[in-house]
Subunit: 314 residues, 2 copies
């Protein structure tokens, strides 16, 4: 059996290995991805993003646990993909918080993975989309994708999810408040985490006003992000978030927006592959030798980047 | 006179307009960029990055002022390019801090610009590199490029500068401390800002230990990032940062690393242009009609992204 078959058969080790291949964009990884394509397209992809300090990793962990604790034997299988280099899920973190993330480690219905690389030829969003597809085909019906809510690539990634949870918290600095502006617009669900901290009412009021401004004149039947409070350390509010996620999924299905987001994701994956292939084809035509000569001239500023491109494209 | 000539003649309005054209990647913008190429390649590009809450925008502002106040008539002309969506330099910010940034607004030797878009076809790094080139050709000899220190694109951008200042501050949350790991490795100069806050000695000690670990066994003659303290509200430490920048510039020149960084930047610009052109050429060959048919099949999951690419590349 090849790796893709073993992933379809539910082997965790095979899944971990295939994810690494896909992340590194190996030929074998690409082939397995093709093999898995017909099996994907079922999972609910949920982006979780927010400024540093909002506790979004703990929240992701709580959501995964709650999803598992609910349905008994029918409980959905949950995967967590952490793209945030500062996430306690990922190896880079030095924090005690990381241990807590291991809560779900013994449960075969939960799979936690952090991106080792910080992007690749096809871009961080393309790689993430491909890895999501593997988890989807492997039968995880809810995939939580966690990114830090700052930075273009990170925003691009969560944009590709079906539902985006933006996490805020009281008592963050002014700089961090400002970051929010860029991510609020992509929220499908807004969560004020650390609701046991002082200042939570203020934070809620501020966000409610922003929502009023943004959605006050929205046409009837459109989705207005619910504003929820949670305390991920105690589990407060987790059920309400899961209910909102379910509402949003229904809304997407009924409004036809589910299909639109699917299409956007597939198109992004297509674009990333296309770019890579076009460059590979071109490099073969041009030859390393000629490219390196041109790069030398470029380094000497004898020609401009545009001139180099023009000459090499002829 | 066309726009490029007017920029070379020192017209500010022409500069602002050309930057917009280049940011939006218009044909006229690309043409002007070509025209300006021989005039660029002189400026010292300085990246300023750090986690939210470190006060890097105020620091950039102070550096610009100090550079201008120094040399009298010979004072270097300084440009600030803010790529950070949360930066007080950029329009997105709601903060009072923004006013302070206008300090230098009356001085023709200072030009402040924030990126309106959050990236483009060529990617955020490509666009930033092109805009930097315009400012360089326009005669600004020091260009400060400010980005938030989280997110892949943002790290890619500062990597393209000659000198990178990474800003830290005492009293940031744990999540933010973790972000630092990703950006410390690109620092040429490390600044602990807000040095009037409690805990500054701890922050300095921690960074010093990290520097020891990273550079303890570095070969002789290699650059060890100096660790400086500053308080951008009072101006403390600004002169030391400028001196370190000058040291680093000399080091780069003498070690041949200046040329290496120039080359890396030109290559990045080349790559971004190449990708764009390859895609445009390909689109012309394939035709919108055929592409849209294929995208339809893709959306229905009748074919995979890789199959779509394969068929369209034939």
């Amino acid at each position: 059996m090849d790796l893709a078959d073993r992933v379809l058969a539910g082997e965790r080790l095979a899944l971990a290995r295939l994810l690494t291949q896909v992340e590194n964009d190996t030929p074998a990884g690409r082939q397995s991805l093709e093999r898995l394509f017909p099996h994907a397209g079922k999972a609910h992809l949920v982006g979780i993003t927010g400024a540093p300090g909002t506790g979004k990793s703990s929240l992701a962990n709580q959501l995964a646990r709650a999803l598992r604790n609910r349905g008994g034997a029918d409980a959905p299988r949950v995967a967590v993909l952490a793209v945030d280099p500062s996430s306690p899920f990922s190896g880079g973190a030095l924090l005690g918080d990381r241990l807590r993330m291991k809560d779900s480690a013994g449960d075969p219905g939960v799979f936690i993975r952090s991106m080792a690389s910080r992007g690749s030829v096809g871009g961080l969003a393309g790689t993430t989309a491909a890895m999501t597809q593997v988890l989807d085909a492997a039968g995880f019906s809810i995939i939580l994708i966690e990114t830090v809510g700052a930075g273009q690539s990170e925003v691009d990634i969560v944009r590709l999810a079906h539902s985006v949870i933006v996490v805020d918290a009281p008592g963050l600095g002014d700089d961090i408040q400002a970051i929010k502006a860029g991510i609020l617009e992509i929220a499908d669900i807004l969560v004020v985490n650390k609701a046991d901290l002082p200042g939570v009412e203020n934070t809620l009021r501020g966000l409610d006003m922003m929502l009023d401004m943004a959605y006050g004149h929205a046409p009837e039947g459109s989705w207005r992000p619910p504003l929820l409070r949670a305390t991920s350390t105690t589990g407060e509010g987790i059920d309400a978030i899961l209910a909102a996620l379910e509402d949003h999924r229904m809304y997407l299905r009924e409004s036809g927006k589910w299909a639109q987001r699917e299409e956007a994701r597939l198109t992004a994956e297509f674009d990333s592959l296309l770019q890579r292939q076009l460059k590979a084809q071109w490099l073969q035509r041009v030859g390393e030798q000629r490219l390196s000569e041109m790069m030398h001239q470029l380094a000497q500023r004898e020609i401009s980047p545009a001139q180099a491109v023009e000459r090499l494209l002829k």
